[in-house]
């Protein structure tokens, strides 16, 4: 590797100082003159017809300015177009920002009230009367599939809102030539990353110029932007996304309802309106991950080789069809995980129930896909009497097979999966733990170790879903396009404008390192604009703080822009210094001759000349020292678009990791304690180890928390029992163990600097790692953890059937 000055270093962060001193700027920190406070009226029934909404009494309260009822929403807005998450819908289902005639989940928005203060708004909200006709609820996907079940969407004629599948290779042949079949049934539950900053929006409308300004914490600009034009028919609007207090997918989709509603309120009142969700609203209605059930069957050979896998999936997608298939389609991203299996069939059904709609969350369907693979590997090991590690080693893609093309079209760029696994076994001291396990059992203590492998795909390709819905119209653009703007300012500093917003992943720091390295300046000379602005940010389809996009598209864009700006700077400098650009080098704030260092010019002087004195600018050079570069992934073919066999590259880079968990299970209470947690991770070339470690620590913590009990629980009537962070069992410092990370970097041959994704990755294998470890600990009792979460209650139940 070449010597680097800033890449690969944990430099002082750009974002840290402002956040530790309370100077971050979040949506709720903005106030405008005359601003009203909006508050949302939500359904108190999980399933009911809305007969009447009467806001008269509320409107009479002093300080209340307006109420937007379902009638107003229907009159003044248009329904959202079905996005790609709803592409599989048989018949169109109309969805507005609020419920119109019917509510289908507890907390579904019905109306918005705006008042001069939040407290007035909260008081007055109670005076809006809603006349409901309660309907029978259906909370279980299996029950919802029955023909006698109450229907959520009458127009669909069934609660099974989508049915479909994919098949790669020759599954029939695989099953016919198998020595044995291994079966498993698995479940994953509903949870969410619950960003600590709730959803929020501030909207301001100028009736004279017809311009709407929106500040919000949406993660995906495209969703916000399109929602405003679809629902409000506006021509002129601007979206600003300031600091986002955590996203994890929660702020991608359902937020559009509230942005439209807040904007509609601003339009109706002519005054700025701010809406900030509170925590219980978030738990009720901001979206949850999907509850999924799987019946899995593997066709195997006696040596452990997996010939094929067949999966039947049922998704409980809750009370909306707008995210119908997202947990299914996302499984294409890691469909074959790290294994060189040739055939696979995945068939799914998306079932609507009276639960909260599902939304993306830290990996979306990927943790489940990994859970399927890793659980079935353990089953195969048991069936054949092999060690779990050996079964995996037999099936892993080998290091000399890269770039490896998986049967579904994904091209794995680089990696060494066996090495990750071996290192994890070594780091966790596998043999020692096993020896300790035997000894501990004699003392009545139950220790277990689980070692699994998983992929972390990165860089979204929006054309993916066309493999599942070939007939769908209005699919988004393929591949990923995203820009970055770089400018050498008049004072010699460099300003960077990124194409995508950040949810707190140190984008300013990481991109400044890339720019500094490419230009030759120091990161201190670089200022990265911290908020996103639809009018200023060079954005494209890749400009979304989702899909592990940053490493590929943002880094690609700033890297490309840096090279272009460097060229411009050197050209101007060579003119000033009467030499050629090739003779010059940039170091810090100085452009100097490679031959004689005292032949030089400062960036500050160049900045001054570029903007202040035309006579110094050569005729063939444009004025200013600014460049905008749009990156498009140069290796997007083959399979950027699906072929006839549905082969498509769902994502473009593939990080991977092996996770090893050591647990101790208390058989009296069922409680699992994580004793050690070891990760060996390949995220390609690392730009900033502090940032990458943080992403791994954060995502594994959530994976562990989810596996050990965190989640949403409903009663049979449709009431949510987990309305607070405590009820939802969010892990604190007391539950999350110390995590040990080893980096094993295999650079990507496809990305600008060899970088691969580092974000949601460790949330993907961690539930599987804990399942394996718990199963190993409780081997004497024959306990098989199949249904997430493995709460004390659940494990106790397995121990005491």
């Amino acid at each position: 590797m070449t010597e680097t000055k800033y890449l690969g270093k944990t430099i002082r962060s750009k974002e840290g100082p402002r956040h530790v001193s309370g100077r971050g700027q979040f949506t709720d920190d903005f106030t405008l003159p005359g601003m009203l406070h909006g508050i949302v009226l939500r359904s108190t029934y999980p399933h009911a017809r809305i007969l009447k909404v009467d806001a008269q009494e509320a409107l009479e309260v002093p300080g209340v300015v307006a109420v937007v009822t379902p009638d107003v929403v229907k009159q003044k807005t248009r329904p959202f177009k079905p996005g790609r998450y709803a592409a599989g819908l048989r018949k169109p289902v109309t969805e507005y920002a609020t419920a119109i005639d019917k509510v289908r989940y507890l907390g579904e928005p019905i109306a918005m009230l705006a008042a001069q203060s939040r407290s007035i708004a909260e008081d007055a909200l109670e005076l809006i009367s809603v006349e409901y006709e309660p309907l029978p609820t259906v909370m279980d996907s299996r029950e919802a599939m029955e023909s006698s079940a109450p229907l959520l969407f009458e127009e669909l004629g069934s609660n099974v809102a989508w049915k479909g599948g994919v098949s790669y290779g020759d599954v029939e042949e695989a099953f016919q030539s198998a020595d044995r079949l291994v079966r498993e049934s698995l479940k994953t539950h509903r949870y969410s990353s619950t960003p600590l900053e709730p959803l929020g929006c501030l909207a301001s409308f100028d009736a004279v110029s017809h311009q709407l300004d929106v500040w919000c914490n949406g993660q995906n600009p495209e969703v916000v932007y399109d929602a405003l034009s679809e629902a409000l028919s506006l021509e002129d609007y601007r979206v600003v996304i300031p600091d986002i207090g955590g996203g994890f997918g929660q702020k991608i989709h359902l937020i559009r309802k509230y942005i439209v509603l807040t904007s509609l309120m601003a339009l109706q009142t002519g005054r700025p309106v701010k809406w900030i969700e509170d925590r219980s609203e978030h738990m009720l209605a901001a979206g949850q991950s999907c509850g999924m059930e799987f019946d899995v069957e593997a066709a195997i050979k006696e040596d452990g080789t997996v010939l094929g896998l067949s999966i039947q999936e049922i998704d409980d997608v809750g009370g909306s069809v707008s995210t119908l298939t997202i947990h299914f389609t996302n499984k294409l991203n890691n469909l074959f995980s790290t294994y060189k299996v040739k055939s696979l069939r995945l068939e799914g059904q998306a079932v609507v129930t009276n639960k909260c709609p599902v939304v993306p969350n830290r990996g979306i369907g990927k943790p489940s896909m990994c859970f399927i693979w890793e659980r079935i590997m353990d089953r195969i090991a048991e069936e054949l009497g092999m060690s779990p590690a050996d079964v995996r080693l037999v099936n892993l893609v080998q290091p000399d097979e890269f770039p490896y093309q998986a049967p579904n079209g994904n091209v794995y760029d680089s990696g060494d999966y066996p090495e990750l696994l071996k290192r994890a076994l070594k780091n966790v001291e596998f043999e020692k733990v096993k020896a300790g396990q035997t000894k501990a059992r004699k003392e009545g203590r139950y220790i277990g170790v689980g070692v699994v492998v998983g992929l972390e795909p990165g860089g979204r390709n929006a054309a993916r879903d066309m493999a599942i819905f070939p007939d769908a119209k209005e699919m988004p653009g393929a591949g990923g396009v995203e820009g970055a703007t770089l400018k050498l300012e008049r004072n010699g500093t460099i300003t960077v404008v990124l194409g995508a917003p950040s949810c707190g992943q140190f984008h300013e720091t990481t991109t400044s390192q890339v720019v500094a390295e490419a230009l030759g300046v120091s990161p201190e000379q670089i200022n990265v604009v911290s908020s996103w602005d639809s009018r200023l940010s060079p954005w494209g389809v890749g400009s979304s703080n989702t899909g592990n996009n940053f490493h590929l598209y943002d880094i690609g864009a700033v890297h490309g822009a840096s090279l272009q700006l460097r060229e411009k700077i050197l050209k101007l400098a060579s003119h000033i210094l009467s030499t050629v650009p090739e003779e010059l080098t940039i170091e810090g704030d100085l452009v100097s001759s490679k031959e004689s260092a005292d032949q030089n010019v400062t960036l500050k002087r160049l900045g001054k000349l570029a903007y202040g004195n035309q006579s110094y600018i050569p005729e063939d050079v444009e004025g200013g020292l600014e460049t905008t570069y749009y990156y498009k992934f140069p290796h997007a073919e083959p399979f950027m678009l699906p072929d006839k066999q549905g082969r498509v590259r769902a994502q473009f880079t593939f990080s991977a990791a092996a996770h090893a968990a050591v647990v101790e299970v208390d058989i009296e209470t069922g409680r699992t304690q994580v004793v050690r947690y070891v990760i060996v991770s390949d995220n390609g070339t690392i730009i900033n180890p502090g940032v990458v470690d943080g992403q791994i620590y954060g995502s594994v913590a959530h994976g562990i928390s989810v596996a050990l009990g965190e989640g949403f629980v409903y009663d049979s009537e449709g009431q949510l029992l987990t309305l607070t962070l405590t009820d939802c069992s969010k892990a604190s410092t007391m539950e999350i163990p110390e995590v040990e990370i080893e980096h094993y970097q295999v650079p990507s041959p496809f990305s600008a600097l060899g970088q691969k994704a580092a974000g949601e990755g460790a949330a993907i294998p961690s539930p599987a790692a804990l399942a394996s470890a718990i199963e190993d600990a409780l081997h004497p009792f024959g306990v098989k953890p199949r249904d997430l979460p493995f709460s004390s209650e659940a494990i106790w139940g397995l121990l005491n059937p």
Binding site: V20, S21, S119, L196, I276, R279, G694, I736, E738
Partner: protein
């Protein structure tokens, strides 16, 4: 009926008329303009709105603004002096002990409070001391490292 509250915040004296039911967190953010105090749950679970009230760590969403009359408060904005970060803030920056920054205000104050009381805090004591502050991004590891590292500065006094 508004009530008068005279309070010292970050060394500065404020004299404000407040609604008796106003929470301290909203008072700080909306009336005083100190938006570094973040609201994550309003029910005392997440700790993002933590401040020091008479030197004690409190969740400002669990305190009525009228209760701070003639009291002294330090918010996250009050830790740095003359543009220099406080050692606990410096440690958070150095160790990447934050991501989105939303829990950070409360987390920094919780770390500061526990080290002020016990600069020799062990990892276990640090974990206990921070258990009332939730973070959804970091998994806590780098936060615990930062607080551990900052302890050395507190020992120096």
């Amino acid at each position: 009926m508004k009530q008068l509250v005279c309070v010292t915040i970050n060394g500065q004296r404020y004299r404000e008329e407040v609604d008796p039911r106003m929470l301290l967190s909203f008072f700080l953010r909306e009336q005083v303009g100190l938006t570094g105090t973040h609201i994550g749950c309003i029910v005392g679970e997440c700790g993002a709105c933590s401040v020091l009230l008479e030197g004690q760590l409190v969740k400002s969403c669990l305190v009525l603004a009228v209760r701070v009359h003639e009291k002294e408060i330090v918010t996250v904005e009050g830790l740095a002096t003359e543009g220099t970060l406080h050692p606990i803030q410096e440690a958070f920056v150095e160790h990447y002990a934050l991501q989105c920054g939303y829990c950070t205000s409360g987390m920094v104050l919780a770390g500061h409070h526990l080290l002020t009381k016990n600069p020799n805090a062990s990892e276990k004591e640090i974990r206990q001391g921070l258990a009332g502050n939730l973070c959804m991004c970091t998994g806590y590891t780098q936060i615990i490292k930062a607080v551990t590292a900052a302890g050395k500065e507190y020992k120096k006094g």
